[in-house]
Structures are given as C-alpha cells and as structure tokens.
C-alpha cells in the first residue's frame, strides 16, 4: 500500500498509521512532533523536580539538612534553568501548540513541517548539552547568570550550560516563526481573525515574544561565553565593563519569557472555561487584544528586576510605571473568565478544576507582582522568598495548572482515550492543596526577611520552611498521579469519541485520535466561535 492509502484506511489515525522508531524520529506530522516534545519535557520536569525536592529537603533544617551551600547553589540553579528553559518555555507551545494549532485552523499541518522536526532536534541537542553540564558538575550561577560572578569568579560549567541554553533557544525561535506563518497563511476558508479560538490568539502573542526576545538572550549568553573564553572584560568593572549591562540584555528576554510561560496557559484557560461552563466566552475581543497587549507591554518592563541593582532611579521609575500597565490586560482576562463562569452550566471535571485553581492562584501571583513593581516595597523584598512565592504562584499556580488543564482537556483528542475522571479530580485537588501549602508560607517568609537562594537560614524561620516542604511533598505526589493514569489510559482507557466535551472548535469535529492529515476534507467555517448558546438551544429543542 502507498503511504496515502495506509493513511486513508478506515480506522487509521496518526498514531497507528506507522510503527517503528524511524516513523517517530523522522516524522513531519505536527501531532507526532507534539508527542516527541511531551516525552522530552516530562523528563526535564522530573529533573527539575528532583532538584526542587532536594532543595526543600535541605531547608527542613536551619543549618541545611542535606547538602553543602556550594551544592545547594547548584541545586537551585539547576531547578531554575531546567524548569524554565527546558520545561515551561516549551511546554504548552511545543506540545499543545504543535498538536492543536493546525487542527484549530482546519489545516493539514503547520507551514513548515520539516522545520518543526528540526526544532525538536535543536531542542534535544540544547537540552542534552545542559544535561551533560549537569552531570559534569552543574552550575551555581542561578538561572540568571549574573556577571561578574558567572564570568570571572566561578569554576563551574557555565560555558557548557550557556551553550546548551543558546542552542535550545533556537528551537523556540523556529517554533515561533512556524506558528506565526501557520496562523497567517493556513487558516481554513471562512476562518477570519475574529473567528479564531482564543488559544490561537494566545499562541500568536507567545510566538511574537519568541521571535523578538529569544535572540537577545542568545547574545547575552554568547557574551558570557566570550568573556570566559578570552577574559576580555565585557562586564568586568576593572576593565570598564558594567555588570548591569548584562542584566539589561538578560532581562530584555527573560521578562517577556515569563509571558511566554503564562500566555499559552491563559489561552488554554479561555478554551476550558468556556467549554466546561457550556457558555460563550465573555468579551472575546477583549481577551484576544489583551493577549497581544501583554506581549507588547511585556517587552517594556524588564528593569523591574533591577530596581536594586544600581540601575538609575529614573529608569526604575519608568519601569515601575510600565509594570503597572502590564497588569491591566491580565486583569481584563480574569474579569472576562469570571464573567463567563457566571450563570454558566459548570461541570467540575479535572480541566475545570485546574482552570478554577488557575484563576485564583494567578490572581494572587499577579497582585503580588504589583507589590514587587512598587519600587519602595521591592527595596525590602527583592531577593527574598516573597519574590520566590510570587513567581511560583504564576508559574506553577498559573502556567503549570494551565498546562495540566490543557493536557486533561485535549488528552481524549490526542490519545483517543479517556482517563479516569475520579482520579483526575482527586489529583487536581491534591495539587491545589499541595501547591498552596508549599508557597503561601513563602510569602510570609519573604516578608519576614528570609533571603532566597540560601542553603541555611535563621532558626526562627524553621516552622514555615517545614510547612513549605510538607506542601512540596504533597505537590510532588499530586504530579505523579496523572503520570500513572495517563499511561494507564493509553492502554486501558475507554475510547473517547470525537467530542467528549461537546465543545466547539474545529479540532473536535474530527476523529479522536485524528487521521494524519487531520480532516477528511478541509472544513469551511461559517459561524462565530464558541457557539454554545446555539448548542444549548439545540439541546433544549431536542
């Protein structure tokens, strides 16, 4: 049989159309590439998670229970680098984005499928180099690589790690490029911009950040490598260099990077909230434009990481004011989601539980960001656990819960199987409880003055640290449960059917799992998105 005959056989889908390792490693099917990324980032999540576990265990005792400070420095650096660059940044874009974008657009694949596969190999190359550096002894610069510590004073594997991240960054750039072209050029007939799912708007905004921001961190890391190799003092004060220049270049990317991590989650939440409240999303245009606004304004605020660095006070004022502005579109989204829930017919399956958790936790994280954007407050809580709690509320309570919501929502489509509803709800609650126990005490610790990145601490902080570690244990268990039932579902789960959620969206009009080319015929779109009112009427009439 020719390959197209195989693909068009009844019951053929993208998973069973071909077996064998070569069909996976040389695939250009965006859905298989999504799986390749899923396996890779799950591995990296485990690595970052192990580092976090060791950190929290160490912090059970004020004098440090487990490791020497030098090792602790390597642990928090590893945790940050792996979680950010190798897990969070690719997570939703490379897994859910790759899988869903062509499907939501009614397309057969992304604009550049071979480039898509190359992106995965580039990501694996970069990630492998970072893993090598880790095994060879790791780095202790923190994920922020601040100079002159990273360039002049450390003997750890800075260059290898920086090189690994540099290479992995190109994976983001190529993915962002692919997504923007796909969204512009591959939409089905009738799919105008304001009929697009909000997930697409979120991915578009994310891709802009990939394109504009990632090259700058590439250069920042390259300059560190050059300075270490040639000892040329680009950031060395003795030779006239300014370490703060590094921070400007680093944060120009790294602040928008946090929007890379949250925007896709927000896109997922928009989809899940509307589908599982069976109600049209409130304020579609506001949500769409706020995604673009977050991406745009997000590039203007990087100096809020540098209020106490020696940056000029005037620059600090400018960045503080702009940071207030960037909160506005995020708040707009939260209001719109809440309004969507209001008088909706809400069902509390796992995706909705994660989405509700997201709304609450992201709000807390976002509001505490405003505290930090206030220069007068930041003077006191900069580099304390207050900051750590803030960003974990956003990145774990926000981004990761959005990721979990998305995986649970689209798993039936991706695998064709249903996971056990009861266990999924239990896991969601465990994760929510574990998360809050871990990180809420850290707000208090930071406010009381406990610095971040310290292996030891004054004894009066022990109780809160112990609570935090207990929470982390619960959180870790919470993450293991879905791993088990998803794996179980691949083999033993009930068949999902095309549209188990009765959701709108083109991806739900085709089989689960979808055929290789996604749709039997290119769909033609004639209706506005999120037509749940119409579905409700049809159900009433029926």
């Amino acid at each position: 049989m020719s390959s197209s005959e195989v693909a068009n056989r009844p019951g053929a889908n993208y998973l069973n159309v071909d077996y064998g390792i070569k069909s996976w490693l040389l695939t250009t099917d965006h859905k298989r590439i999504a799986w390749l990324y899923l396996v890779a980032i799950t591995f990296f999540f485990a690595v970052g998670g192990v580092a976090a576990t060791l950190m929290r265990l160490n912090l059970l005792e004020p004098q440090g229970l487990l490791v020497e400070p030098e090792t602790y420095n390597k642990l928090f650096s590893t945790h940050g680098i792996v979680m950010i660059f190798l897990f969070l940044v690719p997570s939703i874009p490379a897994v859910l984005g790759n899988f869903l974008i062509p499907m939501m657009l009614g397309a057969r694949d992304v604009a550049f499928p071979r480039l898509n596969l190359l992106s995965w190999y580039v990501f694996m190359t970069g990630g492998s180099i970072v893993m090598y550096a880790l095994i060879a002894g790791g780095v202790d610069t923190g994920w922020t690589f601040y100079t002159p510590l990273s360039t002049m004073y450390l003997n750890t594997h800075v260059m290898a790690t920086a090189t690994g991240i540099f290479i992995a960054g190109f994976s983001s750039i190529l993915t962002g490029l692919n997504f923007v072209v796909t969204i512009h050029k591959m939409r089905a007939p009738g799919l105008t911009w304001f009929r697009l799912p909000l997930f697409i708007w979120a991915m578009y905004a994310t891709s802009i950040i990939f394109i504009i921001g990632t090259p700058v961190i590439a250069i920042s890391l390259a300059l560190i490598v050059i300075e270490r190799l040639f000892h040329v003092g680009i950031f060395d004060p003795a030779l006239g260099g300014d370490p703060i220049l590094f921070q400007h270049l680093f944060w120009f990317y790294s602040h928008p990077a946090v929007y890379v991590m949250i925007l896709p989650s927000m896109g997922v939440i928009s989809e899940v909230i509307t589908a599982l409240s069976h109600k049209k999303i409130f304020g579609y245009h506001f949500i769409a434009f706020s995604s673009i606004a977050i991406a745009a304004i997000g590039f203007l605020v990087w100096g809020h990481h540098m209020f106490v660095s020696g940056q000029s006070i005037y620059a600090g004022l400018v960045f503080s004011a702009l940071s207030m502005a960037v909160a506005i579109p995020s708040a707009v989204k939260v209001f719109n989601w809440t309004a969507t829930l209001y008088k909706g017919s809400i069902s509390y399956e796992a995706p909705m539980l994660y989405a509700l958790g997201f709304i609450g936790l992201f709000t807390i994280g976002g509001l505490t960001g405003l505290y930090l954007a206030t220069t007068a407050v930041d003077q006191h809580v900069h580099a304390t656990y207050f900051v750590v709690a803030h960003f974990h509320y956003i990145m774990v309570g926000g981004a990761i819960m959005g990721y979990m919501a998305g995986i649970h929502f689209w798993w039936p489509k991706i695998s064709g199987k249903l996971y056990p509803d009861g266990w999924s709800r239990v896991a969601a609650v465990i994760i929510f409880v574990g998360f809050n126990l871990t990180f809420f005490p850290q707000f208090i610790l930071g406010y009381l003055g406990m610095p971040r990145r310290y292996a030891v601490y004054p004894p009066e902080f022990q109780t809160l640290n112990v609570i935090s570690t207990a929470g982390a244990t619960i959180l870790g268990l919470g993450y293991i449960i879905p791993l088990i039932y998803f794996a179980w579902s691949v083999r033993y789960g009930a068949p999902a059917g095309d549209n188990p959620w009765q959701a709108t969206g083109l991806e739900w009009t085709t089989a689960s799992p979808p055929p290789t080319h996604n749709f039997e015929e290119t769909p033609v779109v004639t209706e506005e998105p999120y037509g749940y009112d119409r579905i409700a009427e049809e159900i009433q009439v029926a």
Binding site: G240, F299, W302, S312, I313, Y314
Partner: protein, 113 residues
C-alpha cells in the same frame, strides 16, 4: 506567478546610489561636525539600508504583512536600545536630598554624561 520582476536597470541604479552614499559617508566622516557626525552617518546608513530593502529585497512590492514584520523588529530594537540607554544616561541624575558619598560615586570609573 504574480511575483514582481524588477527591471535590471533599476538594480544598477540602486547599486550606483549605494556606492555614492558609501563614498559620501566615508568622506563626510573626515569633516568635523561634532556630535552631528554620528547623526549624519546613521541617516546615510539608514538610507542605504532602505535602498537595499526596498529594491533589492523587493519590499516595495511585498505584502504589507512583511513590511509590518520589518517595522516591528525595528520598533523593538529601538525600545531595547532606548530603555537601556535611559538607565545609563540618568545614573548621575540625583536629587539634592540624595547626595551622599555612596550614591554620587559613579559605578564605572571614567563615566561621563
């Protein structure tokens, strides 16, 4: 195909324009215009870049989306440079009540504003 094919003569004209501007920018550099040297030099360079972009790279006949991409990249580049410079150029701006040895000591020896 509906892609525009520019006449070769246009390319030759652009080429000579570029060479002329190169000559001008090179020679003007030897005239002391103070801080205007840099401004003139950058304007000429921007002009040359515009010629290459508009004609050699076919921006003149390209989709507006493509032009938007170029504009966006340049816009964010300007943001990156200007907000960074905003820090460095205001380091010595201190209010009278901030005067103290710790603050007025410049971060980098030899700084001049």
């Amino acid at each position: 195909m509906s892609e525009h094919i520019a006449p070769r003569k246009l390319y030759y004209m652009v080429f000579f324009g570029l060479l002329t501007l190169t000559l001008i920018t090179w020679q003007v550099a030897y005239i002391d215009l103070g801080k205007w040297n840099t401004v003139v030099m950058l304007i000429i360079a921007a002009g040359k870049a515009a010629l290459v972009g508009t004609f050699f790279m076919h921006l003149r006949w390209s989709a507006s989306m493509v032009r938007l991409v170029v504009f966006a990249a340049l816009f964010w580049l300007v943001i990156m440079i200007s907000l960074t410079i905003c820090d460095f150029s205001t380091r010595k701006n201190v209010q009278p009540w901030q005067h103290s040895a710790a603050i007025t000591q410049p971060m980098v020896p030899g700084i001049k504003c």
